[in-house]
Amino acid sequence: MTPQAPARAAPAERRAATIARVAGALDGVLHEFVETRDGMPTLIVPRDGLVEVLSRLKSRASFEQATFVTAVDHLPATPRFEVVHQLWSLTHADRVRLKTRIAVDAAWVPTCTHLWPGAAFMERECYDMFGIHFEGHHNLRRLLMPEEYEHHPLRKEFPHQGIEPDRLYRAWEKGRREEFFERRAKEDSK
């Protein structure tokens, strides 16, 4: 027989407990709770206080895991982007969501890879898709698209069929062919 799991509290109670724990951990740091449709405890955090909030949530509220780091493009709203951090507590089995609003002409947020090294890939993907820079990331390269790619495909102004999607391939192929014919000409001249 597997041991019986302890009865879980009602969702509203658990949510209230999470909010209380988060608010306690963030005492004295600028943040704001907002209501969301899915009922997950959600905070709006300014960019300047983001690292402080994240490190407090990790150390004091025991959110041991960064489940994902991503962004939302709210074009044409200003500020345009919303960087979303979602954290998961292994100890308390609950989640919290952080939103940081940033403008398109200053599209950067501090990295959280010093707190959760596993967030590195998610930040790279976010950079690749939205062009949001994560300041302090040790290896902020594109993750999915080719490294020479110029666009950020998940930005709202990007057409889903792409802008010259085969341009990089054709350039590569042209270079290869030229190289081939040069080598061939060299061999022929020998």
Binding site: L144, P153, D166, L168, Y169, R170
Partner: protein, 275 residues
């Protein structure tokens, strides 16, 4: 089911009606690149239905016992062609380029249940240098396209390409910035197998179609240095005529609009509304 390149100028169901035009059951006339008419030397005639029929009636076979094959070549040349083609078509060595779910069906096809060995093509090798049949199975992205093209270039000639599944045939449901809208925009494709993914027997059907197509090739021309037509085999021309025009046509907003082969453009008839 697998089909030879459907004639782009005659609509999607043109191939089916062509098959009906053959007395004695479906036969595939694969001596030419579809859409461009038969080889100039072939003496083939156009039937009422618009299908091209080889000269010499509906014989359809390439037996050396026939005085000459449909290309109008003599007994020696057609015997040589028959022998070489017989060897080639019955020992295809596939290079499985499994890119997504089609790769699973490809494995099933090679495995014991569907048993591609019955068609002499079970010896899949994972090095392109030992293969002559590239099966592009799955969604090809532009990032992967470079690897795909390199694999194709590393394969020794003669070589054939099967686009397996709708993704590799046309991009499929991925009308996206990241996906190649049909591998024929980077490679010359011999057989397209629709399906998402196609069943293994559909791919086997495609391979049988390819075997029919190989039967109709004229390898003696290369062997005996007989001048060949550019239209016969686009990708042989790539290797043979390095100084031919290789200008890449400028890309338009949708890759559906243009199919680019690296062949001598001056020797090629313009295709209206290709694909």
């Amino acid at each position: 089911m697998g089909s030879l390149n459907p004639d782009p100028t005659r609509g999607a169901d043109a191939g089916a009606s062509d098959l009906k035009a053959w007395p004695g059951g479906p036969k595939t006339y694969a001596g030419t690149t579809p859409g461009r008419g038969p080889h100039p030397d072939s003496g083939a005639v156009r039937t009422d239905s618009g299908a091209f029929r080889p000269a010499g009636g509906d014989r359809g076979d390439t037996s050396p016992l026939s005085a000459a094959d449909d290309s109008g070549n003599g007994f020696m040349a057609s015997s040589l062609d028959f022998l070489i083609n017989w060897g080639r078509k019955n020992s295809l060595w596939p290079m499985p380029l499994g890119l997504s779910c089609c790769g699973i069906e490809l494995m099933a096809m090679i495995g014991p249940k569907f048993d591609l060995a019955r068609f002499g093509a079970e010896a899949a090798r994972f090095t392109p240098r030992q293969c002559d049949l590239l099966i592009v199975a799955g969604t090809l992205t532009w990032k992967m396209a470079r690897a795909c093209r390199q694999i194709y270039d590393q394969m020794p000639d003669p070589k054939w390409v099967i686009a397996m599944g709708v993704c590799s045939s046309s991009g499929g449901m991925y009308d996206s910035y990241a996906v190649v809208q049909g591998v024929d925009s980077i490679l010359p494709v011999d057989v397209y197998v629709p399906g998402c993914p196609p069943r293994p027997d559909a791919v086997i059907d495609g391979i049988m179609k390819l075997q029919k197509k190989i039967e109709r090739e004229h390898p003696h021309r290369r062997l005996l240095r007989v001048p060949d037509s550019v239209e016969e085999r686009g990708h042989e021309m790539i290797l043979r005529a390095p100084n031919a025009a290789v200008e890449v046509e400028p890309h338009t907003s949708s890759t559906h609009e243009k199919t680019t082969y690296f062949v001598d453009q001056s020797a090629r008839k313009p295709e209206e509304g290709a694909r």
